[in-house]
């Protein structure tokens, strides 16, 4: 009886999430073009995977995806933690303002954020280039989005901006969930600010930090919009991620088999992080039996 309530939701999720995953896996074993129907599809086993793994492009995308994930999550954590601590420590009136401000970058759709940063990083009239030349750090505006190394890091900067404040919000919630009495006890116990932070706040915040990092990694590994919107994967394929390749194979080259192989690689990576994440938090998923 009660199951009837949950079946519609399960049905929807199965139809649009779980079943397509299975399909994607099957696609990945075929030489399959979008325009070609299944009559012309050819079973190729793991050929798509082998071809993908062997390609220079895949290794580049795989490397960039990993590098991007590590870098963004690290800097998002550092800046997010800083903002969380600052927000937590300032006067309540300022705290209210900051909390509101932190929500703003999160509320912006990723592709729009990418567009926004494309303007800030504009080679001729971008504000960053101007600021760098105006302060005399460089003689002419750097090619933020067309130099391979700079493009990689420009994408990372844009992502950090978009997501650090969200990290901040999550860590702020973690800070606020530590009982005030514990902070007070540490103060009265004679602990100075840094000692309190290192010995009380940080260890108590560590579980939140871990979960936040795992959660963000889940999303960073599938990064798509930032590259697609900022550089379109360029210059060359230096800022292509596994996701942008998958997407391009699907909808630009119409090669569903290869695209699906890329998608399955992303799936495998996300699943690995998801297992750790799920194990970490599932203990808290509790409802009255």
């Amino acid at each position: 009886m009660a199951v009837l309530f949950i079946i519609p939701a399960l049905l929807f999720v199965t139809l649009f999430m779980y079943y397509p995953i299975l399909q994607t896996f099957i696609y990945s074993l075929f030489s399959l073009h979008r325009t070609a129907d299944w009559l012309h599809a050819q079973f190729v086993g793991l050929q798509n995977y082998i071809a993908v793994m062997k390609s220079e492009a895949f290794r580049g995308a795989f490397g960039f995806t990993l590098y991007y994930t590590v870098m963004t999550v690290f800097f998002e954590l550092a800046i997010g933690l800083g903002m969380a601590i600052a927000t937590f420590s300032v006067h309540p009136r300022l705290r209210g303002i900051l909390r509101a401000v932190l929500v703003v970058p999160w509320a912006i759709p990723p592709i729009v954020s990418a567009m926004l940063w494309r303007w800030l990083f504009h080679a001729d009239a971008g504000i960053f280039g101007y600021l760098l030349t105006a302060t005399g750090l460089v003689s002419k505006p750097p090619a933020f989005l067309t130099d391979p190394t700079l493009a990689v890091h420009s994408i990372i900067v844009a992502s950090v901006w978009k997501n650090a404040s969200m990290m901040g919000i999550l860590l702020l919630a973690g800070l606020a969930s530590i009982p005030q009495d514990i902070y007070d006890a540490a103060k009265v116990d004679g602990a100075r600010t840094w000692f309190r932070f290192r010995r009380v706040t940080l260890p108590l915040l560590l579980p939140t930090i871990l979960v936040t990092v795992l959660f963000r990694s889940l999303w960073a590994l599938r990064m798509f919009e930032e590259s697609y919107g900022l550089t379109g994967g360029g210059p060359g394929t230096t800022t292509d991620t596994l996701s942008t390749f998958a997407y391009k194979y699907f909808f630009t080259y119409a090669r569903f088999g290869v695209g699906s192989a890329y998608a399955m690689v992303i799936f495998a990576m996300v699943v690995m992080v998801a297992i750790v994440y799920v194990n970490r938090v599932k203990g808290n998923l509790r409802f009255k039996e």
Binding site: D181, D184, A185, K187, D189, G190
Partner: protein
């Protein structure tokens, strides 16, 4: 060991005067209890002394040192919290060692002092446990251990026993008192429980609405409350109050349904007072309940009886007013039965209805 002196401390929140010019002394080595109903400002005062709250104005001294404006970690105090506030990620050993580590004590001395503290509190076998593996009473001991290990100038205790069950609370109360006497550290203890306050205190400070109502030894406050608030707060069950008219011509107090003739002592005290309303106070334990009438007694009817075992707590009605009194446990009474109450004159209190101050306070001191 030092005395704590608070001078004209005020704390103003946006529209609430949490502390209204508090001046008081916490004597060296004594246990002083701050007591009052919730929201009376007692915890605010304690936290102000701790440095967790900065006063809006006024000064605070610990020993000879003025400490307001100095952060809590430089005040050399220790505090026990109602929630115990143990560090959940540290073992008992680490919890107790924390104040010493924070003040850069050498490692071997830390070890020695933690073990010694654990021995005093009989928690040596718990040193490797984490707080979540402890019972309420054990957590309480660890919190105490963390407070005493650093040999602070002052102990601050914020309702430290109120999270314990009733039985354990009585045991810990006695232990706490013993420990405090043994260590002889100036202790400021906050509670809303007047019974706890009475049993523990060398000196009591009764607070209400951000102000000190009365300061004194427990028995002093019980015997000679300064005003209606203290009279009603100290003692359990609380003092009964009846509004009466003072009639100088009749030399008596006129109640709703009775007339109470005053003796020479009260007439003397009231000699300059015109006729008018007074508040009469009498403690339940000072009322005698008699089954048959005699002159000067107040007629009443039995309303509710609560058998307490040792005695019966009686609610009686005088007109619309309810009074509480004790009768021996084997007394046979019925609901609605008429009884007579005798108020012992020396146990009587009269309060000015305007100022609520006791008329006999000066005289009794």
């Amino acid at each position: 060991m030092s005395e704590v002196y608070v001078e004209e401390v005020c704390k103003q929140y946006r529209d609430v005067q949490a502390l209204d010019s508090i001046t008081c002394t916490f004597e060296d080595g004594q246990l002083t209890v701050l007591v009052g109903p919730s929201g009376c400002g007692k915890t605010t005062l304690l936290r102000t002394i701790a440095g967790l709250i900065e006063p809006s104005s006024g000064a605070i001294y610990i020993g000879k040192r003025r400490v307001d404006g100095i952060p809590p970690w430089e005040r050399n105090i220790a505090m026990v919290f109602q929630s115990y506030a143990l560090y959940p990620h540290m073992t008992v050993f680490k919890n107790i060692a924390f104040p010493l580590e924070a003040t850069r004590t050498p490692k071997d001395e830390i070890k020695r002092r933690v073990v010694e503290t654990a021995r005093i509190l009989q928690i040596e076998n718990l040193l490797d446990r984490k707080p979540r593996e402890l019972s309420g009473g054990q957590m309480q001991r660890v919190a105490l251990g963390r407070a005493i290990v650093r040999k602070p100038e002052v102990f601050l205790m914020d309702e430290p026993l109120s999270n314990l069950d009733a039985k354990l609370r009585v045991v810990m109360r006695a232990e706490l008192k013993h420990l405090q006497t043994q260590l002889g550290v100036t202790t400021i203890y906050v509670t809303h429980d007047q019974a706890e306050a009475m049993t523990l205190a060398d000196k009591l400070i009764v607070m209400n609405a951000g102000r000190i109502q009365q300061v004194g030894r427990p028995e002093e406050l019980y015997r000679n409350p300064r005003n209606v608030f203290v009279a009603g707060f100290i003692g359990s069950p609380p003092m009964n109050f009846i509004e009466v008219q003072y009639d100088p011509a009749e030399r008596a107090l006129i109640g709703p349904d009775f007339q109470y003739p005053l003796g020479p002592r009260w007439l003397d005290l009231l000699r300059n007072r015109p006729a008018g309303t007074l508040i009469l106070g009498i403690r339940p334990e000072s009322i005698q309940v008699i089954a048959s009438p005699s002159p000067g007694m107040v007629p009443a009817s039995v309303y509710v009886m609560e058998q307490l075992g040792r005695e019966i707590l009686l609610d009686v009605k005088i007109g619309p007013q309810t009074l509480r009194a004790f009768v021996p446990a084997d007394t046979r009474l019925q609901m609605g039965q008429e009884v007579w109450l005798q108020f012992q004159e020396e146990a009587l209190y009269l309060f000015d209805p305007e100022t609520e101050v006791s008329l006999s306070w000066q005289e009794r001191q």
